[in-house]
């Protein structure tokens, strides 16, 4: 049942390669919609949160050195699986028209299906080797998506993305190998199972080295300062759908790795190194916001804002408090939805005008009032306005960190001023304001029905989570409780 | 280290140095022959020490192979000269990637 979550999109991707033109688009979207439906069914019917932390488990035969094909689904994994399926549908719907006339080729749609399969695998796997395989597998479709269907600087951005994240993954592999070997040396058992390795708790220099290599591996993905410079290029040059998947889901892999692998296995070390790691997260927030203030390209601005937002997630997760970890998990979802909506709308603008610079627009409120309204809504969610989803996540992360290291939470909170400082002038320049010479605002038509439905859906979810996050938090609660119960409560 | 071994080692090192440091193919061929000569000396000496006729047989084989290889090498070098190419190893870089 769980295998279908990654096997079906993969199969769909393969089949899609044999189709052409319009058929491939419809076929791929049908597969994605089916996956979304399946995910929703999975969350309602066989999986019940009270069934335990690891709600659904599927295992296969053991291989060498304790590697075993094992998938499991609990609240956190389910929420990310849902996010993946949902954002895949959103990115397909957002690319419906295609950048040029004629739409995208079949390879485009298959790449996304392969990406969805790999992402599902990452979130589902309970065996570290399977986790690593799926982790690497996400790089390949994304490389093609950026490199073949992106904008002008796509080759360079794709290579940079691939080399950077691959470099980090190598560190992760080394760390994982060292961890498994250490566990074998200590207990005599070869296992790659996340749950069993959680008892490893290596210490000393070896433990520190393992920890650091895993930090590098996950940190490149998050992206944690100073390993973040691949992000602006990759986000900017990717096509709209690519940016949605990249910012919406792929960045969460790093934080997910933190929650699933790093914290349970290294509780003592992560608590002792909290000032350093939390400091890096704070740098993410402040540095990312400051960089965002300087950007003149809409997509680069949102990319740097993602750096800042993920900093909040990391702060929350590192705090070892229920509200912090729950906030970090929730903020992963929130960020996916909010940034997905922002990239989608920037994609709409780019589709219409092939430009995305701040000075290329102006006075869009006259031509496209609905786009102005929804973009403003998403911007307000992004800067953490209470009542929308961004605030709930950020607040819980900050509250958690305030219990752990109050000073760090205070420094991180400065991010809320900076986020207003970089988002709102850009919003005003693009959507309000006067049309400057050379602006392409006259080419912009307002949202059509398909686009309106999409943004209504996303913005409605933002408001719903903002005022009523309880269902999501309840679903996440068992996973949070298992992590925090095993570790330290400061 | 007996004198025979010293002579053999000296010949070998001299030949090695010639191969590595000289650019002209003819010189490298000479160096190769010197290396073979050095190895032959050591092999003969060791065969004598242990009284092993197999070693001497190997020496004869080595001399024969060295002669054949020298002939082939000289032919190749002559071919190069006739073809108008220079005899410097640095200019023969077609295998470069």
């Amino acid at each position: 049942m769980l295998t279908a979550l990654w096997a079906l999109p993969a199969l769909g991707g393969v089949l899609c390669l044999f189709t052409k033109g319009e058929t491939s688009k419809r076929f791929a979207t049908t597969v994605a919609a089916a996956m979304l439906g399946y995910t929703v069914w999975l969350s309602c019917v066989p999986y019940a949160p009270e069934a335990g932390v690891w709600g659904l488990v599927e295992s296969g035969p053991a291989w060498i050195f304790g590697i075993r094909y094992q998938l499991a689904l609990d609240g956190l994994a389910l929420s990310l699986v849902w996010l993946t399926a949902f954002l895949t549908v959103v990115s397909f719907a957002a690319s419906w028209r295609g950048a040029e006339s004629g739409g995208f080729s079949a390879g485009f749609w298959s790449s996304f299906l392969f990406l969805e399969a790999a992402l599902m695998g990452v979130f589902l796997s309970r065996d570290l080797f399977v986790f690593y395989v799926f982790w690497e597998a996400t790089l390949i479709p994304m490389f093609f998506i950026i490199g073949l269907w992106g904008s002008e600087g796509r080759r360079h951005a794709a290579m940079k993305f691939f080399l950077f994240t691959f470099f980090g993954s190598l560190f992760m592999l080394v760390g994982l190998l060292a961890l498994v070997t250490h566990y074998h040396a200590v207990s005599g058992v070869w296992t790659w199972d996340m749950g069993e390795l959680a008892g490893a708790n290596p210490t000393g220099l070896a433990g520190l080295l393992m920890f650091v290599s895993l930090i590098i591996g996950f940190g490149v993905k998050i992206p944690l300062f100073p390993m973040h410079t691949w992000l602006p290029d990759a986000h900017t040059e990717a096509p709209a759908a690519g940016s949605i998947m990249l910012a919406g889901v792929m960045l969460k892999m790093g934080v997910y790795g933190f929650i699933r692998v790093l914290l349970p296995v290294f509780p003592r070390l992560s608590w002792d190194l909290l000032p350093w790691l939390g400091g890096l997260a704070c740098v993410n927030i402040l540095y990312g916001s400051l960089c965002a203030m300087q950007q003149r390209d809409l997509k680069r601005l949102i990319a740097y804002s993602s750096v800042a937002h993920l900093g909040f997630c990391v702060l929350g997760v590192l705090s070892w408090t229920p509200e912090g970890v729950a906030g970090g998990s929730l903020q992963m979802l929130n960020h996916g939805i909010t940034t997905g909506a922002l990239f989608m709308m920037i994609g709409f603008l780019y589709e219409r005008t092939h430009r995305r610079g701040l000075s290329d627009f102006g006075d869009l409120v006259t031509r496209a009032p609905w786009m102005t309204f929804f973009f403003g809504w998403a911007v307000m969610a992004s800067i953490g306005l209470p009542g929308l989803n961004g605030f709930v996540g950020e607040f819980m992360c900050l509250a958690g960190m305030a219990r752990a290291l109050p000073l760090m939470a205070m420094v991180a909170a400065i991010g809320i001023v900076l986020s207003a400082a970089y988002c709102l002038p850009a919003y005003q320049t693009v959507f309000w304001g006067a049309s400057t010479a050379g602006s392409v605002s006259s080419k912009v038509l307002d949202l059509d029905l398909r686009e309106k439905v999409l943004v209504w859906l996303l913005c409605g979810i933002m408001l719903y989570i903002g005022l009523c996050p309880t269902p999501l938090l309840d679903a996440l609660a068992p996973s949070v409780a298992s992590l925090v119960a095993d570790g330290f409560m400061p | 280290m007996t004198p025979a071994l010293q002579v053999g080692l000296a010949l070998f090192c001299l030949g090695l140095a010639t191969v590595l440091l000289r650019g002209r193919l003819l010189a490298m061929l000479l160096g190769l022959e010197l290396m073979i000569a050095g190895v032959t000396v050591i092999l003969t000496y060791q065969a004598g020490i242990f009284g092993d006729p197999g070693g001497l047989a190997a020496v004869v084989l080595v001399i024969a192979v060295a002669a054949a290889e020298a002939v082939v090498g000289l032919c190749l070098i002559l071919r190069l000269h006739h073809g108008g190419r220079s005899g410097e190893s640095g200019s023969l870089a077609e295998l470069r990637e």
Partner: protein, 616 residues
């Protein structure tokens, strides 16, 4: 205890009106968008009166409505608290807000953004109500930011004007700085007490707090100072006059800016526990009052005069509150809401009559002939502002002067100076606009405002005159269900020396204004021409605006340096350099040069290495 219907109506009516207006009226009949919204205003006004009446009889409530966020044992709830303090302010907000909604229906009639205006305006109204009835700090923060959002949308309402856009941005970011302080205070409270409900937190005050409480108190004051425009975070308020007049009247006079004072009044049990904080608040308030009062005397735009006047009055409220007289501060908040709204709406009528969005003193003069009704309302409100008996403003200003006289000569000097300045600038505005005209003015000939705009102003003017007689009732209302001690909520008692002091300060201001505007009609223009340096000084708020501009510019430069030089060129540049460096390194140690000697070297080296490894 069951929650009364009025409480539900307070939230449901505006929400329903907004949904109906947005989904039904705006697409189909945008010019009727205001009808559901005005209906909601009426319902809210009735509900708030009902709650005020209930609270007057001694009823109060503090109940949770539902969970907002929860994780493990950590929880944040939605809750409602109705007690005397919030019932009194709520009644004022509902009445003044409703009347300004009616005014706005007339004022914004021809504007193409009519529907958008009313939606934003009513969203603000809903947020303000939500803030007033919150029972914990986090929910208060939710609506606090909501009010800030609506301020942003409404100040920048005319999106084509650059000045409006930058004023909106400035307001939002400056308020965000205060919000940061508020958020950090909430985080500290959560860490220390685990729960931010007012009742719970203030109940813990008895166990002492130490440095943590000091930090929370100071942070709450910084938050209030940014929202309620205390020096040094006041500068966004005069620029916020770029918004339409109803916005200025409701948000930046009567309600939003008083949110900070309300926060301080709500948190008084905490503030009172921190030694010295009250004095700090009073000092900042007093300085603000005098500083802004001086600046108001030199402004030329009608709305800016009133904006600086608002800053000055907020300073007076903070002054009274800091000295421990919370009741007097709240009373002034309520009275100020009435008379300031009237003043702003009259300025709006003048501008509307002239066919513009704002009016300068050079464009008005002698308007008493054309706009007698507006003159009457303006005079009523001016008398109230100056604090002359029996207008409403007298009762609250009298209380402030009494509090300051009791507290010490320095405070008294601040209060009396601010009172005299108040009388001066409002009389100056009255004379310059309605009397004369001075030879320097080129007045238009505005017509009187239509009924839809005059009637609300008239009602509010009546309120500005007569609301003072409600003050004993308000005083009794404030103590019902209060968390602060009774003596802090007490209002002033009449005493002749205080009356004399206040009235003479007002008379001095009035006389000085008469002298400098009627007796010397050209003075207001000649001093600007003859002393351009002084004019520049006043225009830059005695140099403070230069300081703010410098801070903003430096921050942008820093951000540019970080984003451009540091991140892009230096760090990313280094990382990008590694790639071509690796390529050239690979080229340098290439195994495939095609040269025989290279290959020979590799063979020799390899063999030597293998031999070494085998032998060692």
């Amino acid at each position: 205890m069951p929650i009364p219907v009025s409480v539900y109506l307070l939230f449901l009516a505006p929400t329903a009106a907004l949904l109906v207006a947005f989904f039904l009226f705006r697409p189909l009949r945008p010019q009727w968008t205001h009808w559901p919204i005005l209906a909601s205003c009426a319902v809210v006004a009735a509900a708030s009166m009902d709650l005020a009446a209930k609270t007057y009889t001694g009823w109060s409530m503090d109940a949770p409505l539902g969970v907002w966020m929860a994780a493990g044992s950590w929880e944040v709830y939605f809750g409602v608290r109705i007690d005397g303090l919030c019932a009194a302010v709520l009644a004022m907000v509902a009445v003044v807000g409703g009347l300004i909604h009616v005014y706005a229906a007339g004022y914004m009639r021809e504007d193409p953004g009519f529907a958008r205006f009313f939606l934003c305006f009513h969203l603000f109204f809903l947020s303000m109500i939500g803030m007033l009835v919150s029972n914990n700090f986090v929910q208060f923060y939710l609506f606090w930011e909501g009010v800030g959002l609506c301020s942003f949308l409404l100040i920048g309402f005319w999106t084509h004007k650059q000045s409006a856009r930058s004023a909106a941005l400035q307001a939002f970011v400056t308020n965000r700085v205060g919000d940061l302080a508020f958020l950090v205070a909430i985080l500290i409270l959560l860490k220390a007490y685990g729960d931010t409900r007012f009742e719970y937190v203030f109940g813990q005050m008895a166990y002492g707090g130490g440095p943590l409480l000091l930090l929370v108190g100071v942070l709450l004051f910084v938050a209030a100072a940014s929202k309620s425009a205390q020096f040094p975070l006041y500068f966004w308020l005069p620029d916020a006059m770029e918004g339409p007049t109803p916005v200025s009247a409701l948000m930046h006079a009567a309600t939003m800016v008083t949110a900070g004072i309300f926060l301080l009044a709500r948190s008084w049990p905490l503030i009172a526990f921190v030694p010295g904080l009250g004095t700090l608040i009073a000092a900042v308030g007093g300085v603000t009052a005098v500083f802004a009062g001086l600046l108001a005397c030199g402004q030329t735009d009608l709305k800016r005069i009133l904006a600086y006047s608002t800053v000055s009055h907020l300073g007076l409220m903070a002054l009274a509150l800091g000295l421990g007289r919370v009741g007097i501060a709240v009373l002034h908040l309520i009275m100020h809401g009435f008379f300031k709204a009237v003043l702003f709406l009259c300025a709006g009528n003048i501008a509307h009559g002239l066919g513009k969005s704002a009016a300068d003193i050079s464009e008005v003069g002698g308007l008493r002939k054309h706009m007698p009704f507006t003159l009457a309302c303006f005079m009523a409100a001016a008398i109230s502002l100056a604090g002359i008996w029996p207008a409403a403003g007298f009762f609250s200003k009298d209380g402030i002067i009494e509090a300051c006289l009791e507290a010490g000569p320095g405070w008294a000097a601040l209060a009396l100076t601010a009172a005299a300045l108040g009388a001066f600038y409002i009389s100056r505005m009255l004379f310059l606009a309605f009397f004369g005209p001075s030879p320097e003015q080129k007045p238009g000939h505005p017509h009187e405002a239509p009924a839809g705009m005059s009637v609300p102003v008239g009602f509010l003017a009546l309120g500005a005159l007569l609301a003072g007689f409600l003050s004993p009732g308000i005083g009794r209302l404030l103590v019902k269900g209060a968390m602060s001690p009774e003596e802090s909520l007490a209002l002033a008692h009449f005493s002749w020396p205080v009356f004399a002091a206040g009235t003479s300060a007002a008379v001095i201001g009035f006389a000085a204004a008469w002298f400098l505007t009627i007796a010397r009609p050209r003075f207001d223009w000649t001093w600007r021409r003859e002393h351009p340096g002084l004019q520049a000084l006043v225009a830059s708020d005695f140099g403070w605006r230069h300081v703010v501009a410098f801070v903003v510019k430096t921050s942008w430069r820093f951000a540019e340096w970080v984003g451009g030089a540091l991140d892009h060129r230096t760090w990313d540049g280094f990382l990008e350099w590694t790639s071509p460096a690796a390529v050239s390194l690979g080229g340098a140690v290439s195994l495939k040069s095609g040269r025989l000697s290279d290959y020979m070297w590799w063979i020799v080296m390899g063999t030597a290495a293998l031999l070494a490894a085998a032998l060692i």
